[in-house]
C-alpha cells in the first residue's frame, strides 16, 4: 500500500500549483489548528480567522517555512500562536496571562487524591474542558498541543519557540494545576492556594 504523502511533499506540490495538494494539506491539518485556535482564542470567529490566516500565510511567496528548522505542522501551529498573541495584544483578552504562577521549583498540592475520581466519563470531560479553559495561557497552550492534539515535545517546542525541557516542565505544571482546579471544583469552588513545599526523603 502506498504511504500517505508527507506534509512537506504536499507543501512542495501546492507551491507548484497543484490544488489537490493544498486541499489535502488543508483537510489534514485544519481541524487541529482550528481547535487550537478555539481553545486559545475562546471563540469560533477568532478560530476561523486564525485558521484562515495560517493557510494564507502558507501561500505567500516568502512564507518562512524552513524544513530544516522543524516540521510543517510545528510551523503551522507557530503561525497560529503568533496570530493569537497578536489578537490578545489587540483585544487584551488574555486576562489569565499574568496569572502565571511560576511555582519556583518543586511543590506539591496538599491533596494528592485522584482529581477525577467518582466522576462519570461525561462529567470528567466537561470538568476538564472548563479547567483547561481556565488555565493561564502558557500552560493552556502546552496542554492543548501535547495532550489534546498529541504533538510530540519537539514539535510543540518548535511551535512555541522554546526548548523541549520547557515544554516538559510546563506540561507537568499544567497538569498539576488542572488536578488542583478539578479538586477545587469537587470541593465546591473555593480557590485552592494550599501549596506546600515538597518534602521528600528519597
Amino acid at each position: 500500500m502506498k504511504a500517505p504523502e508527507s506534509d512537506h511533499q504536499l507543501f512542495e506540490r501546492l507551491r507548484a500549483g497543484q490544488e489537490e495538494a493544498f486541499v489535502a494539506l488543508y483537510r489534514r491539518r485544519q481541524p487541529a489548528l482550528y481547535r487550537f485556535a478555539l481553545q486559545m482564542g475562546g471563540s469560533p470567529a477568532v478560530a476561523e480567522d486564525v485558521t484562515q490566516e495560517v493557510f494564507l500565510a502558507l501561500l505567500r511567496d516568502s512564507c518562512g517555512y524552513e524544513p530544516e528548522r522543524g516540521t510543517l505542522v510545528a510551523y503551522l501551529f507557530g503561525i497560529a500562536r503568533k496570530l493569537l498573541l497578536r489578537q490578545f495584544e489587540r483585544r487584551r483578552l488574555d486576562v489569565a496571562l499574568d496569572v502565571d504562577g511560576d511555582f519556583g521549583g518543586i511543590r506539591e498540592p496538599a491533596d494528592l487524591s485522584d482529581p477525577l475520581a467518582d466522576l462519570a466519563e461525561r462529567e470528567r470531560i466537561e470538568a476538564l474542558r472548563r479547567a483547561v479553559g481556565s488555565l493561564p495561557r502558557r500552560y493552556r497552550e502546552v496542554v492543548v498541543l501535547c495532550d489534546l492534539e498529541e504533538l510530540d515535545y519537539a514539535e510543540a517546542a518548535a511551535a512555541l519557540g522554546c526548548p523541549i525541557g520547557t515544554v516538559r516542565s510546563r506540561l507537568h505544571r499544567a497538569r498539576l494545576l488542572l488536578a488542583e482546579k478539578l479538586r477545587d471544583e469537587r470541593r465546591g469552588g473555593a480557590p485552592v492556594t494550599d501549596w506546600k513545599a515538597a518534602r521528600c526523603l528519597a
Partner: protein
Amino acid sequence: MNCEEYWNNVGALPAERLAAHLAECRSCAARWAAEGSVVAGLRLLGADEKDVSAPPRLEARLLRAYREQYGRRVSRTAGAHRWWAAAAAVLLAAAGLWTGAWPSAAPARGVSGAAVLAGMEESQGAFIPLPNAAGVTDDDELDLVRVELPRSAMTALGLAAGDENLAGSVEAEVLVGPDGMARAVRFLN
C-alpha cells in the same frame, strides 16, 4: 535522584530510573498517579473534540485565494475528482426532478447571491436552480465547477437536448455549496 531531579527530568530519563524513584517516594508516586489521571482525562477530552473543525466555507474561501495566487493552475487529477463529485450531485438532482421527488423549481434568488459569479450569469445564460438552492442566501459562498454530463441530464431538467444522440455528453457548469451539494447548473453547449 531527589524529587526535583525527578520532576525536571520526567520523560527524559530512562523509565527504570524514574520508576526507582517512585518506588522510594510515596509523595511523588501519589503525584504521578494524580497526573496520570489528568492525562487520561485529557485524552478523553481530546477524543471528544476530534470532530470539531473549521466550517466548510473556510475551505471554499481558501481555495479561491489559492486559485488567485497560483493562477488556476489546477491539476488534472483535482479537476477530475471535483468534476465527478459535481457530476454525481447534478445527476442525483436531475434524477430527483425527473421522478418528481422534488419541487420542479427552487427560488433563484439565493443562487444569484454568489456575487463572484453574477457577471458570468448574465453573460452566459441563467443557472437552473436545483432543489438544494432553496436555502442559499446572499452570504453563501459557492464554487463553480465545470463538468461533462450525459445529454439525457438536460431532458431530465426539462430542457431540449437537441437532435444529437441522447447518449452523448454535454458540458455544464455547476454551482457547488460549501457542503459539497450542487445548487444550480447551466449547460454550455
